[in-house]
């Protein structure tokens, strides 16, 4: 069984990053690399070698799906599981994201108290 330890977190909104930091590092005890945009993620991802990538969808410059696509081109990240976090919550939009081959989609606003738990649950379902 693979354990979920290292998470690459890409989110442009600093406030949400801050909340996620508490939720993932303090509560979830994960090892998290925070990136504020797609390019930063592309630059740092390989060196960090995450178990899971958490991606915001709507970001200025490179959006979540494009970032994921570019990450996937790096051989070491081609198979790394990813989860989208989005405030675009319409059914059609969610369906479109799901088709991009992600483990799950977390709808914002999310509950930071439960975030780590939910990630672990999802991880268990797929890799437990």
């Amino acid at each position: 069984m693979r354990t979920l330890k290292k998470i690459l977190y890409v989110e442009d909104e600093p406030d949400i990053r801050k909340i996620a930091q508490v939720a993932l590092e303090d509560i979830g005890q994960f090892d998290v690399k925070f990136c504020s945009n797609g390019q930063e993620a592309l630059d740092q991802a390989e060196a960090f070698a995450p178990d899971l990538i958490l991606l915001d969808v709507m970001m200025p410059g490179m959006d979540g799906p494009t970032t994921l696509e570019n990450l996937r081109e790096k051989p070491s990240l081609a198979e790394t599981p990813a989860i989208f976090m989005t405030a675009k919550a319409q059914t059609s939009e969610i369906e479109a994201y799901r088709k991009l081959g992600v483990l799950d989609i977390i709808i914002k606003p999310f509950d930071p108290m439960q975030l780590a738990n939910n990630l672990q649950k999802c991880w268990k379902e797929n890799y437990g």
Binding site: V22, D26, A87, A89, Q90, T91, K108, P109, D111
Partner: protein
């Protein structure tokens, strides 16, 4: 009355012959009267022919007959007045009157022959002869009126010439008159005047030739059998009759003016209406030829309004999708609509030119008259470009707003929830209370955004459902446990009142959870503290009923009516107190209805309220396929070793087998037992396997029996190649290769899968054809046709187990098919917007009315009919 039998003057002209002379003024007047009468008669004849209503035809016929008959009569007697004899003239009343009657009858009969629009040769010829003879009869009868005081003999040559002139000129006038319905009004008038002049000449020519044929000799005494008319009085009669003719002419002409202007007004109005519509209109005739394109569409297509669009180039403006070319012009929806197919809300692209494309929605309908005859089609092109653009903008806006609202809320809610969870250390009570308030209101804002998005989706018809069978127990239990925490805040417990039956419902789990959460949280909010909200699940026939019961104050009577309306709460202060959005029940009701159920409530003041929804129970049986019985295979093989080898291989593959070692045995077995397939050796002790195959193919029962030929004779197949379709599944050569045999058997297995029943659906609404075909896909093979004609064609060619029939079809009524279907013993379900006429009920298994039938009822009716067919096959 004494009739002089010596009508003709055959001998020499007697010496006492009286000569007369003519008053030229009166001769000219006689011609004028003849022309006038002819004109009126021809005009009325034209009306007569154009009139479509039989009861109106009689007026035109009578008017025309009177005008012509009486006109000829007037002309005759003016002609007589113009004839000056060396003695005073008197006219016998009887003959004078009779001559007019004869003329009217002849004219009436001629018009009767010509009454119909079709120009047939024979009636035309006959009509001319009749009018000619009528004129002549009238003339000579009128002459008879003078025999009271003169003796008249006729010169045969001139007598017959006069009749010939009458006939020929009448023919000519009629030929002209037949053309007087065509061309412009002015042209019609000219033709009519021309023919009236010719006809006038015919009447006068006949008259004056007839007069020339007459040899008058004085009678010794006056012999009057009847009252006599003085010429002076006669002129009054003539004037009165001429006046009557002119009156008829004036009436007819006024009437015509009124008609023409009424028709013209109506036409102008219709054209203006079509041109002022915002939708494009295309109409075609019964052959599919385009007869009208309204100005709106012409303007849209940048036409100058005069150019004619051919069907081909019009169709090329419309494309079902973004691809450039129409692959098949006949498949183009516009082309199909112009051919009389009914098309509903078909979305198309209208490509005006390289730069401009409009989104349009097309509707096509056949135009059918009261008798059910197809006159053509009408197509409406509705431009939705703007609507789609607005819709896209709105979607983008909603999506963006939702996103922009959620992003800050994510931060607020996240922070609050982390603080409340103790991530930032312990809080004092006051801070905790304040954070609670902030958190609750934040939650409420999130719910409000979600509900508004849902409402928006519902209103746009875009709420998507991912429907799958799910156990109701799981859904209800989950909803209860997730809402317990919410209940605790209000000191309200949520309790399951009884065991949940083991039932599945076909629903979108998330949506049902949303409804349950809404109902339970409402119940909690309106329950008094320390009470319980009850949830019960019960089975009622084919439905499962889920109830959520509170012990609250009940719903006031005036509020009950708008409880499902948006933003409806008993009073607005309540809304804030209870933290609801006022949208939940409206959304819940829509969700349940979309899943095929109903959501209702019952309430008693001070006792509580129960909201309950019912959903159809999903039945496993709907999807199951019966395990096929073991198929039986006949092995026809004379070599015992090979036969037993084949038996083993086949039995191992799950077949029952029987062995036949000769053709005779095979035939006996085939007669007594039903087989699903057979293997066949070609060389058998009592004959040739091929001849057995031929025999079987000629037998209805075994026409389609799958046969695997197993032969040692490599060339045998060659004997059959010449187009002989004995249709065997496979040819195997000895020694038998087990693998190939099993392969062949796999083929057989596929062949003998129980056939799905086949249903013919006769319905001109293509969408409905598709919907129903999808509905019964797993249970039956559907074939859809849109017209009676197609239906008859496929019924003649294919066998069907059930017919689903619409009554209103583009080429007639579905009931026409019922007797034939009864003869073919095909059960029929009528599914139509109209009720089935009582006389036809006997032919029909079930009759359903479209507006009153749910999809489910229709499906049930089809399934019931299919099951009956199944029983029938099983018993057969």
């Amino acid at each position: 009355m004494s009739m002089d039998l010596n009508f003709f003057q055959l001998g020499p002209i007697p010496a006492n012959v009286m000569d007369g002379s003519y008053n030229l003024g009166l001769v000219a007047l006689s011609y004028f009267i003849a022309v006038l009468a002819s004109y009126v008669a021809l005009d009325l004849a034209g009306r007569l022919r154009a009139e479509t209503q039989a009861k109106h035809k009689i007026f035109w016929l009578l008017g025309g007959a009177f005008a012509l008959g009486a006109g000829i009569w007037s002309m005759h007697f003016i002609g007589m007045l113009a004839f000056i004899m060396p003695m005073p003239m008197r006219y016998d009343f009887f003959w004078t009157a009779l001559s007019m009657v004869a003329a009217i009858i002849a004219a009436g009969f001629a018009l009767f022959l010509l009454r119909n629009e079709r120009e047939k040769f024979t009636p035309l010829i006959l009509g001319g002869i009749l009018i000619g003879l009528g004129i002549a009869t009238m003339h000579y009868m009128g002459m008879q009126g003078m025999t009271s005081h003169v003796h008249i003999r006729y010169l045969p040559s001139l007598f017959f010439l006069s009749i010939l002139i009458a006939i020929l000129a009448s023919e000519a006038a009629l030929w002209l008159a037949m053309r007087s319905n065509q061309g412009s009004l002015w042209r019609q008038f000219q033709i009519k005047v021309g023919s009236a002049l010719v006809m006038g000449a015919a009447i006068c020519g006949m008259h004056y030739t007839g007069m020339a044929a007459a040899v008058f000799t004085p009678l010794k005494t006056m012999t009057a059998d009847h009252p006599l008319i003085d010429p002076f009085n006669l002129s009054f009669y003539i004037a009165a009759i001429t006046g009557a003719i002119i009156t008829i002419a004036l009436l007819a002409s006024t009437y015509k003016q009124l008609m023409v202007s009424a028709v013209q007004n109506e036409k102008n109005f219709l054209n203006a209406m079509l041109d002022n519509l915002e939708d494009g209109i295309i109409a075609s005739d019964a052959k599919g030829k385009i007869t009208l394109i309204n100005r709106t569409l012409q303007d849209r297509l940048n036409s100058d309004g005069k150019s004619n669009f051919s069907k081909h180039n019009l169709i090329n403006y419309f494309h079902p999708d973004k691809k450039d070319a129409n692959k098949d012009e006949k498949q183009n929806p516009l082309s199909r609509a112009l051919q009389g197919e009914r098309i509903h809300s078909q979305e198309l692209l209208m490509k005006i030119n390289a730069d401009e494309t409009r989104d349009v929605v097309m509707d096509g309908q056949p135009i059918v008259n009261a008798q059910g005859k197809k006159l053509g089609s009408v197509v409406v092109i509705h431009d939705v470009t703007e609507r789609l653009r607005v819709e896209r903008l709105k979607n983008e806006f909603v999506s963006t707003v939702s996103h922009e609202l959620r992003t800050p809320l994510t931060s607020i809610r996240g922070s609050l929830s982390l603080i409340m969870g103790g991530a930032a250390g312990k809080l004092n009570q006051k801070t905790k209370d304040l954070i609670d308030i902030a958190h609750n209101n934040c939650e409420r804002l999130i719910r409000l955004i979600n509900d508004i998005l849902d409402i928006e989706k519902i209103e746009a018809g875009k709420m998507d459902f991912y429907v799958q069978p799910a156990p109701i127990a799981e859904l209800v239990n989950n909803a209860i446990s997730t809402n317990q925490a919410f209940g605790q805040k209000f000191n309200v417990k949520i309790e399951l009142e009884s065991d949940i039956p083991d039932i599945k419902v076909n629903v979108d789990k998330d949506r049902i959870t949303q409804v349950l959460t809404n109902l339970i949280s409402n119940a909690v909010k309106f329950s008094p503290p320390n009470s319980a909200v009850g949830v019960s699940v019960t089975k009622k026939n084919h439905w499962v009923v889920v109830s959520v019961i509170d012990r609250g104050k009940g719903i006031s009577e005036e509020f009950q009516h708008h409880i499902f309306q948006k933003f409806a709460q008993a009073d607005s202060s309540n809304m804030r107190k209870q933290g609801g959005t006022g949208l939940g029940l409206s959304i819940s009701k829509t969700i349940i209805e979309r899943l095929g159920g109903t959501l209702e409530f019952k309430t008693k003041p001070e006792e509580g309220t129960t909201f309950y929804f019912q959903l159809p129970i999903w039945r496993e049986a709907d999807m199951s396929v019966e395990a096929p019985k073991k198929a039986r295979i006949l092995i026809c093989e004379d070599d015992k070793d090979i036969a037993s080898l084949l038996s083993i291989i086949l039995q191992d593959n799950g077949f029952q087998v029987k062995n036949a070692y000769s053709i005779k045995e095979a035939k006996d077995l085939l007669r007594t037992t039903t087989f699903d397939a057979m293997t066949l050796d070609l060389i058998l002790p009592d004959g040739d396997g091929i001849s057995l195959v031929r025999d079987l193919r000629n037998n209805e029962k075994y026409e389609k029996l799958p046969i695997v030929v197993i032969s040692a004779k490599l060339g045998a197949r060659g004997k059959l190649v010449n187009g002989e379709a004995i249709n065997v599944v496979d040819w195997l050569y000895k020694p038998v290769d087990a693998k190939k045999l099993i392969n062949a058997i796999e083929h057989i297995k596929q062949r003998i899968k129980p056939d799905k029943p086949s249903i013919l659906h006769i319905e001109d609404d293509r969408d409905l054809l598709n919907i129903i075909a999808n509905m019964v896909e797993s249970d039956a093979k559907m074939k859809g046709v849109a017209t009676l004609k197609e239906a008859k064609k496929v019924l003649a060619k294919e066998k069907f187990d059930l017919v689903l029939l619409d009554l209103i079809l583009p080429d007639g009524s579905g009931v026409e098919l019922l007797p034939e279907l009864a003869r073919l013993r095909i059960p029929v379900i009528v599914f139509s917007a109209f009720e089935l006429p009582k006389d036809y009920v006997q032919y029909v298994t079930t009759a359903l009315t479209k507006s009153r039938t749910t999809d489910k009822e229709l499906l049930d009716a089809i399934k019931a009919a299919i099951n009956k067919i199944g029983d029938y096959h099983a018993n057969a």
